[in-house]
Symmetry: C2
Subunit: 308 residues, 2 copies
Amino acid sequence: MIRIAIHGGAGTILRETMTPEKEAAYTEAMRQSLEAGYGILYNGGTALDAVEAAVVALEDNHLFNAGRGAVLTHEGHVELDASIVDGRTVDAGAVASVRNIRNPIKAARAVMEQSGHVFLIGEGAGSFAQEIGLYMETQEYFITEDRLKQWKLLRHTARSVTDHAATSMEEKHGTVGAVALDAMGNLAAATSTGGMSNKKYGRVGDSPLIGCGTYANNRTCAISATGYGEYFIRSVCAYDVSAMMEYAGVSLPVAIKRSLDKIAAIGGDGGLIGIDAAGNVVADFNSAGMYRGWSDDDGTLKTLIFEE
Amino acid sequence: MIRIAIHGGAGTILRETMTPEKEAAYTEAMRQSLEAGYGILYNGGTALDAVEAAVVALEDNHLFNAGRGAVLTHEGHVELDASIVDGRTVDAGAVASVRNIRNPIKAARAVMEQSGHVFLIGEGAGSFAQEIGLYMETQEYFITEDRLKQWKLLRHTARSVTDHAATSMEEKHGTVGAVALDAMGNLAAATSTGGMSNKKYGRVGDSPLIGCGTYANNRTCAISATGYGEYFIRSVCAYDVSAMMEYAGVSLPVAIKRSLDKIAAIGGDGGLIGIDAAGNVVADFNSAGMYRGWSDDDGTLKTLIFEE
């Protein structure tokens, strides 16, 4: 049994504002990500390699708020966060507020495997990535025309963008992520984001935080979250799903549902993808839509954007 | 029922290397911290105010690895992390890698109450603290002679200090923290640290991470952790204690014991303090010692350093 699931963010994704061209582009991007991850699993590769490859595909695609095409900070920079967890050992790695690393998810994995630490941030994390030879890019690589336009509209507003009506999904919760189960029975999870548009003061959300945005444990499940980060941190959301499964014997779909209900109860919204040790896949959300996709039992790749 | 507990770090604290003068100084410092927090609770104040005051006292005391007297990074700076959680609402605030904020725990609380966010890091967090009027200090304020000596010994070593035998407790796990229950039945938790001595690459441990180093929820408990941060992150330690209580119906002492056992099983060590909603206090650790103190039922303040 091999399985993979991905997301490209949850939020106010409405049929009314979606053009056929845009829908086709997102669908194609998600398919490429799924194919990258599923191909690795199909060839006997690890869940860790699969989630990394799936997230790299989404980071490299300018449509998503991660890697190239990420939102800009108040100061006009792209600052990226990412994390990865290996469910076999619950080893973990994460980076936050990194500026020039082409693929933050690769940096997160390198932190896990080569740094002796779990969490590196800011310029220090950038130095680490450079020293171990990860691809570095100038800010120009990351900044797309759409994001620059969005930033110019937002930068003179006093408050960060989540206080405003979002004109597009990515302004709210445009995180990407992947979860996978490999043929050896190992789970893994990965999450990557540009965070909140027009963010100030070094704001970091749940995506790089182990147990909040990302968690994996072979005993329970692999989880990647996307949503209004502050609520997901306060809920320790990804680990909460795992804890409900481990300590209360709840199934993955029920644990994810309860976790999202708790987030809604305190005012937050977003979505979660998860895979359990038996290969069950869940993609659930309490926002208007979520870019999401997964492999079926027979290897068919499915993608969805709106509610079913 | 009002209760407070504090810690000043866990690690290789040995009777052999402790002088009577040093022991008296640590005991007095812990007593001052407990008195600051307990006084607030006794006068009808909130658990949140109590844990903040108790941690401020430890940050201001040069003996502990938090605020003044914190360890130096590889580059010779003091970079501080802190977090706070209000068990009434599970509101939370945290800062990481801040350089000039006199009391990082006050910055964490201000993030919670005034920023609209949960986690601010680096220079951005410093700008926020300055804008809202928190006390800022030069690096000289934080750097004590002992720490400078320690740094000069360590800075030319290639690896961070946890790979070496610690010459003093603080080099390993010198975090401070407090948990409290107030007369209104509300819990709160706070943690503050200078992190790892000779740390590089913007390394951040568990202390500023909600659910890892700090957690509080009126339904279960308030927790502050101290230890080898990487293992506490991977264990999502503070929230794990709460989850065992909530989902498995385990008592606070048993949940803390199990959590420390899990950390030991993956190679980590350290300690936890906790208070549950009924006012039971636990201070447990799997290292040689932990600076710790608490108020008894009758308001007596107790402090301990070594194993009982």
